[in-house]
Amino acid sequence: MESIYLEAPASTSAYMIAGFIVIFGVMLLYLLSLVVRNNNLNQDLEVLQELEAIEIPESNIDQ
């Protein structure tokens, strides 16, 4: 007579792998976005500081 009860857990490993890919993938993407934005802002800051350094002597000449 066949048992009506489950004898082994369902085979759901593909879904588990997909779940962990999403968890680690999204966290890694967010970390990457932080690094990229940080690098871009540092570049902007350098340019703006250079511009500021150029503007100061000119304003001194005006005075």
Binding site: L6, P9, A10, S11, T12, S13, Y15, M16, A18, G19, F20, V22, I23, V26, M27, Y30, L34, R37, N38, L41, N42, D44, L45, L48, Q49, L51, E52, E55
Partner: protein
């Protein structure tokens, strides 16, 4: 930009080690659930991600109040950082829930009260980011953002209690499941330890990411100020 503080470097290392430990516990310490099989292992990080999402939105509401009281931009930077992190983890929570639901509920999605309120909560905070992007004046942007974060927080307890107040098929961890809940299970001591440890680890991830995002926010604010100055 200032170099990374030593405390933050230590926190980075500790957080990575804790995440490795939690992942090891999920795969090698927590037993396999008898009915659902391997996919149940997603549960530990699914709930932890939901916890970080809600903790982030609570932080945003709190710092929103602080900004309105103190009128100091540092609170605005923290608020934006918290909402951004909250969005990332709320997204992880919803997508992993959908992946779990496919073999357990036999559907990727259903308009169940918990799933619906969680989606509304995410959309409310997506609108927060859109609102901020549409305001140029920094004072106005910070003030509107603070008020929005406080009002938007109403969606968080609504999402949390939806599975307890309404008829739902979504199982709950703390409290009694609704009669129609599908996919609920009794946790063994090893499962409970893994679950609680995952919550702790994700709290560390939240603090670490928040610190990094606040530093980025400060840098962004400095660049914005220099840009405005150069235009004058």
């Amino acid at each position: 930009m200032k170099s990374k503080p030593t405390m933050l470097k230590i926190l980075d290392i500790v957080t990575v080690l804790l995440l490795l430990a939690a992942t090891t516990m999920v795969f090698f310490y927590a037993p396999l659930e008898a009915v659902m099989g391997q996919v149940q292992k997603v549960f530990y990080f699914h709930v932890a991600a939901g916890w970080v999402g809600m903790l982030s939105f609570l932080t945003a509401a709190f710092v929103g109040v602080m900004y309105l009281v103190k009128n100091d931009f540092k609170w605005d930077i923290v608020g934006l950082a918290a909402v951004e992190i909250g969005m990332v983890f709320a997204f992880i929570n919803i997508v992993t829930g959908s992946i779990w639901a496919r073999p357990i509920w036999n559907t990727w999605w259903t308009w169940d009260p918990r799933l619906t309120t969680a989606t509304i909560m995410m959309l409310i905070y997506a609108a927060y980011l859109m609102l901020r992007a549409g305001i140029e004046d920094p004072n106005r942007r910070a003030r509107f953002g603070a008020v929005y974060a406080i009002i938007g927080f109403l969606s968080v307890p609504l999402t949390f209690f939806s599975a307890r107040l309404f008829r739902t098929i979504h199982p709950i961890v703390v409290g009694t499941n609704q009669p129609g809940a599908q996919g609920s299970f009794d946790m063994t001591p090893a499962m409970l330890q893994t679950f609680l440890f995952s919550l702790l680890v994700f709290t560390f991830i939240f603090i670490d990411l928040l610190w990094h995002r606040i530093r980025l926010g400060r840098l962004s604010s400095r660049v914005e100020q220099l840009k405005l100055k150069s235009l004058e």
